[in-house]
Symmetry: C2
Subunit: 463 residues, 2 copies
């Protein structure tokens, strides 16, 4: 699952925020029946008519409300830190209002400005690229430890740094990953409530809808975001509860199976990958109760069930089914071979240099920290839109992530020291980068410890 998404160094402020979803208390007891779900779908259809009548400002306000109430579950008196591209200002203002209405003590927003980021690559001296503002990242970690919640708005240009020197991009990313480690750990361990939502911006929209005039592209991307973020129903907050409960049902089934590994096979034979699961792994999806006791939805949208693979037990070949935007650079047609958990061969038709630098970040960068199942019938997949943004694309396809594992996807993992996590097979790294491997032509089997197996997905759908 999840995504540190649209990520990036923004005038020194990194938007670095993975998503995830630990099994959630609130959703746990809901157990919806088929009839209830059908009724919900009918209501949804009626509601769509209503939604289409709303003004853009009203739609934006709904997204803001869902971000604060569902995404963060902001608690009265809690401080809130927000990061956003400067183009997201209208959404920032709506979210700020909803946060104060929900009792936020203070909202502090860090804005990223794409041209200011590019100016660094154009004009800064070489030494600049090994530096990151530790003073600021430490302060953010301090705020988290003092009870602050974290809301990230994704929407920066996915191809911002595509034309820049990959060595400098990589050095800046490594420096930022090191500087932001304390803050990131609080996030990957789900010690605080946090969420990511998206905002359509011109550069992003142009990449998603290259044929359209920019205003039309932005409008179309907004509609896609509203739909994927499930705010187009009658009562989005209630409907998010139902959606979370449905994901939770699937998670419960997977947790009961105790598989030893998963096997992914594509119809064309380019993917045949066995992903061993960590001992004591837990599947998650649909929401998380954070360490501070607040129930949150770390990714809006979310359509996935995910868990922690075993860092030493991944073997075979796998080909990406969607391109990847990583820190403002694009990597296309990734194809890698794993042996004993480690990537031993990596190719891409575009951005191969970026990919190779990425997996050379540290030892854990060549190993998996997450595996996630998403059916091809996911509404995001069905939209047919390639978003060039992991927050969306990872919820349109099964995926794997290189790098850091989520300790919350191991029994008792939240409180476990690193050595114990590693002994169970959980990977550790400065990076966590999801990439999409699922499609309508992917079969997935669950393999038991005794070598027997059962089909989980056929042609991209749950069996």
């Amino acid at each position: 699952m999840t995504s540190r998404i649209s990520t990036h160094i923004c005038n020194g402020v990194q938007h670095v925020f993975s998503g995830d979803g630990k099994v959630g208390d609130m959703a746990a007891g809901m157990g919806l029946t088929e009839t209830m779900m059908q009724r919900a779908e009918m209501m949804q259809e009626a509601a769509e008519t209503t939604f289409s009548r709303l003004t853009f400002e009203e739609k934006l306000d709904r997204l803001a409300e869902v971000a604060v109430k569902v995404g963060l579950g902001l608690r009265g008196g809690q401080e809130m830190l927000m990061s956003a591209p400067i183009d997201a200002l209208p959404l920032v203002r709506r979210i700020t209002e909803h946060a104060y209405k929900a009792g936020a003590r203070l909202v502090t927003t860090f804005y990223g400005d794409d041209p200011s980021i590019v100016a660094r690559y154009q004009f800064a001296k070489d030494e600049s690229f090994d530096y990151a503002p530790v003073w600021l990242q430490d302060a953010i970690a301090t705020a988290f430890r003092s009870g602050a919640a974290r809301l990230a708005i994704a929407g920066a240009n996915p191809a911002l740094l595509a034309g820049q020197d990959p060595a400098k991009v990589s050095r800046a990313n490594v420096a930022m990953s090191k500087a932001s480690k304390p803050a990131m750990e609080l996030i990957t361990r789900h010690e605080i409530n946090w969420t990511i939502v998206a905002c359509a911006t011109p550069e992003w929209a142009k990449l998603v809808f290259p044929g359209l005039p920019v205003d039309d592209a932005v409008e179309k991307l907004w509609e896609a975001i509203f739909k994927a973020s499930r705010i187009d129903g009658d009562d989005p907050v209630a409907q998010w509860k139902e959606h979370g409960a449905r994901l939770k049902q699937r998670v419960d089934v997977l947790n009961a199976k105790r598989f030893h590994s998963l096997r992914f096979r594509s119809a064309d034979g380019t993917t045949d990958l066995t992903v061993g699961l960590a001992d004591e792994h837990l599947w998650a999806g649909g929401g998380t109760t954070a360490g501070n006791g607040v129930y949150c939805q770390p990714n809006i949208p979310t359509e996935e069930c995910f868990t922690t693979p075993h860092k030493d037990r991944v073997d075979g070949v796998v080909r990406a089914t969607k391109p990847l935007s990583h820190q403002g650079t694009l990597i296309e047609n990734i194809a890698v071979r794993f042996e004993g958990g480690k990537i031993v061969e990596a190719h891409a038709t575009a951005g191969e240099d970026v990919l190779n630098r990425l997996i050379s970040t540290d030892d854990g960068a060549r190993r998996l920290g997450e595996v996630a199942l998403v059916p091809h019938s996911s509404p995001i997949a069905q939209s047919g839109i390639l978003f060039w943004n992991t927050l969306f694309d990872e919820n349109a396809a099964s995926h794997i992530a290189l790098g850091q594992a989520y300790s919350t996807c191991l029994k008792g993992g939240e409180k476990m020291p690193e050595e114990e996590l590693a002994a169970l097979g959980a990977n550790s790294s400065l990076i966590h980068v999801d990439w999409m491997i699922g499609s309508g032509a992917m079969d997935v089997d669950g393999v038991r410890a005794d070598g027997t197996s059962e089909p989980l997905m056929r042609a991209g759908e749950w069996v």
Copy 2:
């Protein structure tokens, strides 16, 4: 002198930056002759023609260059922190480019958004207003201590909070002053190089030119800023050196006099104020060599010579000659009476409540921390524009400031502990608020320890 100007709590980030100018090494040896100055003026006239031919973008770029090279004197490899209203984005981008060209290691910008600030006053719970983000202000102080320079862009709406509850505004200001004390001390002690420049923004321009359509008002305010900031010459960087040297000549004359006090008298008798000067006081103006060795111009524009008054030796009545915008609120027609250094009576025709809360911040808030002389022939005064922004208005008139004194305006003051500073008469407070008392109808006398005196200014001009 100086101004923490346009200041304010911006989404939790306070733009808090006083200006000042310790006697500068660089300017010290220049000693321009009358003839040189006349030639400079002729060149200036020729240059104005050239300047008027520049595009707006080119003018903006000049201001950015002067901000980085003259204002900050940014040193290669130095980190830079910037604060700016979000409307200042085009200027921020230009400054960022010039900073990287000058060798900045990293530029980190904190943006303030006026509507997000107002949202807090509209929707936040009462408890919010005693809180400020100590974690962020501490981090900024840490960055300063590690060598970062500080550039603040003034331009927020001077009347932003005029309609809000003065009690809440005051509580939020006090909380922010306390939180930002460590960072402010590094600034008031001039341990780092820092500067403030201005950016025309729509809300500000509407207040300055209320009769004009907003676009015209913004254009007119920009032209006034460019002129006041002395970037309309042929070679603004060189001309700033000359301007600094001229101020320094005046400072040297004042320092040689060793006055015991200054006496301000207005033609209409509403002001008759004796301002005792601190023992070992130093006059300053035209630039500062900061504790980190970097020569900077803390205020752009600057037209003043200023020093530290004696906190216990101010007596008489004084009436403000311009209104004051303080933290987004307006205070008009201030009239106060001092006894033994302390305000014992304070009135204003608008914002009296804000004024009374301000001088009740702490004991030092009723006493003076600065006195500054500015001739009525200052180009900013001659423009006839009331800017509603201290960065400009204090350079159009002699002024005094309530609150914190600048330790650099005392011999050896930079290294002095607080008790020693206090023993010499330097005031201490969480606030430092300049307000304008000079005009074309003000006489100023320098009074010696033996009671004899000499005229310093007559009808607002140097004698």
